[in-house]
């Protein structure tokens, strides 16, 4: 019965993806690209331009005027072919652009809330530390200068400034703890669900945030109704739902990475936890196994997509990841306070400063060493092979563990 259900779900998804592939418009060079685009996250910035992807096309704009999350624009421009590190890329360079009035009340409200927090943080901390704090807490990328961005990338810790599942889970824990002291447990769960939704709106709708929020809400629903539900089951159900609603997500790297790393944390981490049963450095052991399992699960994809993999990534992550929950907690509280009593939030923001500056120093130090494996092309077969072996290992080892017990 259960397998029949899974088969039906899979079949439905396959049909949906098939129709999407059949129907999607393939853009070609010299075609005119016309679209009303709404920024569901901040456009990325380097020192000379702003850019974002729309329908698989890279759209570049001059640095000013700056566009923000929540705004809506009309774009019209010619599609050009350009060489890049990742091969040929279709680009719309400096298209004609005009601001359309955004009717999305939710987005514009969340934008003004974000701005309040951003201003309070940036007027309290030095620019790098401030940018990092906003990146960690809200996934805001545009306050981080391009040099620092490159350093974070070289050191392999760029994922901390992207809104990620970890953000959502820490935010959810924070809210739950806060409400649990005020109201009854079931009410607290309900409020936390709402809180997680608000947080998702505030951080922008990056796929990892959507994934983590749906997962968190499903998990809370399970707790609320008193049912037991396996996390892996929740993960796959969430992935299914997201793809069913937006079939194009299947080729989105951030969706793939988010899905795979969560899968790694749910399956590989328990194994690592039993293997690495040392007492030494117990306070970062959890970080070590989490990082390692996420890296194991995403390694081939990282190489395939970015053409490079930083060997520094692992040691740097071990050195800095323990600061993230602390920064999230102090920073999250400060962010919340910034909305009502900005002055009182400042001491809390300052509390993050030592951790942020430790983070920055480590990143600046390590980014000078360049230890990257780069591979130009990765055969698809080897990627599938890797995951097949990983899957078999996980299932077999898991089976053995339960038989020992």
């Amino acid at each position: 019965m259960k397998y029949l259900f899974i088969c039906i779900l899979l079949l439905a998804l396959l049909t949906r993806e098939f129709f999407w592939i059949e129907e999607r418009h393939i853009y070609r060079e010299n075609e005119i690209y016309k679209k009303t685009y709404s920024f569901i996250h901040e456009p990325k910035k380097n020192s000379l331009s702003q850019y974002f992807f729309s329908d698989g096309l890279l759209v570049t704009l001059p640095l000013y005027p700056s566009y923000h999350y929540g705004e809506m624009v009309q774009i019209e421009g010619k599609i050009l072919k350009k060489d890049s590190k990742k091969g040929m890329l279709l680009v719309v360079e400096n298209p004609k652009i005009s601001k359309a009035k955004s009717r999305n009340f939710l987005l514009s409200y969340s934008k003004s809330v974000r701005q309040k927090v951003e201003e309070n943080v940036m007027t309290t901390l030095p620019s790098r530390e401030g940018g990092l704090l906003l990146g960690v807490v809200l996934g805001v990328r545009d306050k981080i200068d391009s040099e620092y961005y490159q350093q974070l990338k070289n050191a392999g810790v760029l994922h901390v400034i992207a809104a990620s599942g970890q953000n959502v889970s820490i935010a959810a824990m924070l809210i739950l703890v806060m409400f649990s002291t005020i109201v009854k447990r079931r009410m607290a769960l309900l409020f936390t669900g709402i809180g997680v939704l608000c947080y998702a709106v505030l951080t922008g709708f990056d796929p990892p945030i959507i994934r983590a929020s749906i997962m968190a809400i499903l998990a809370f629903t399970a707790l609320f109704t008193g049912r037991q539900i396996s996390s892996i089951y929740v993960l796959f159900l969430t992935g299914w739902a997201m793809l069913f609603v937006q079939p194009e997500e299947i080729i989105d790297v951030s969706f793939q990475l988010s899905f795979l790393s969560t899968f790694g944390i749910l399956t590989v981490k328990p194994l690592l936890d039993t293997v690495l049963s040392f007492k030494f450095l117990s306070f970062i052991k959890d970080d070590i196994t989490t990082t390692l399992s996420a890296q194991i699960a995403t390694f081939p994809l990282m190489i395939a997509v970015f053409g490079a993999y930083s060997l520094l990534s692992f040691p740097v992550n071990i050195l800095v990841l323990w600061t993230i929950p602390i920064i999230m907690i102090f920073g999250g509280l400060a962010g919340l306070l910034s909305l009502f009593l900005p002055l009182l939030a400042k001491p809390l923001i300052l509390l993050c400063y030592p951790f942020l500056s430790y983070f920055t120093i480590i990143v600046e130090l390590f980014s000078k060493i360049n230890l990257q494996i780069s591979i130009d092309t990765v055969p698809i077969a080897s990627i599938f092979g890797y995951y097949l072996i990983l899957l078999v290992l996980v299932i077999r080892l898991k089976g053995r563990k339960t038989t020992i017990k």
């Binding site: 020192s47 001059p62 640095l63 000013y64 005027p65 700056s66 201003e119 940036m122 007027t123 309290t124 901390l125 030095p126 620019s127 790098r128 401030g130 200068d145 602390i326 907690i329 102090f330 300052l350 509390l351 993050c352 400063y353 030592p354 951790f355």
Partner: protein
Amino acid sequence: MRRILLFGLLSIAFLCVLGAYHLIQFSDNKFHLIFCNVGQGDGILIRTPQGRDIIIDGGLYENSMTDCLSRHLPFWDRTIEVIYLTHPDADHLTGLIGVLKSYNVGYFGTPDAPKGTEVYKELMGLLDEKKITKHSILLGDGLKTKDGVTVSTYWPTSGFVDLKSEETNDYSLVQMVKYGKFHSLLTGDIPSTYLNSIMPQINYIDVFKPPHHGSKTGIDGFTFQHIVPRYAVLSYGYHNRYHHPSPDVLSILKKYNIPYKDTLKGDVEILSDGQKWSVKK
């Protein structure tokens, strides 16, 4: 919960140590004139003996000036008393956007030479949003701080502003910064014709910033006829489009035996107690 409190206390302890360190490092009761390494363009920070901050220009990138401020101000100092923008070109202006976004700014002054660029509009919008008035600066305008630093303006004259020149460089502020016996002439991007007409009014210069990042439009053979500065600081970036500094400018500096330093490798900081001055190594 106990762990969070522990980390909180740890953080407070660290902040106290850092605070003490910054207090010793930055409160030396001296006058500081810092030519920031802004990558491209000009960015100058003046820190008075009592810790008041004056900024003249901000460099080409939004973070160029704020990075420099992080290096030279204690972390609790989030107020910039005065900002001057010598003229509205992007390589002088953009960094000020970053400063306005993350510091409390008391005063903003610039010559009356608006520009239609998007960066300029962004800056003006930001000034409006923060309710900071834009003051038009002319010959004779300036300031004097309680701890004895003066800034006085030599250019543009009101007669010149009325001419409505097309070239924004022509309006560039030329200002003398004084502390006790120390004199420094800061010139923005002023062309040599106007600079040469100003030089006779000046009788002493310790540190001189050749205009326009060492471009040959900035100084010529006549500039140092009346007065020879004792030191020059050139502000320019690597691989800049215009190949600053020009060999002509360097040879003029050599001819008059003016030692110079550039901002390529890092900020150039000048210290003074009002009597003597030195370049920080």
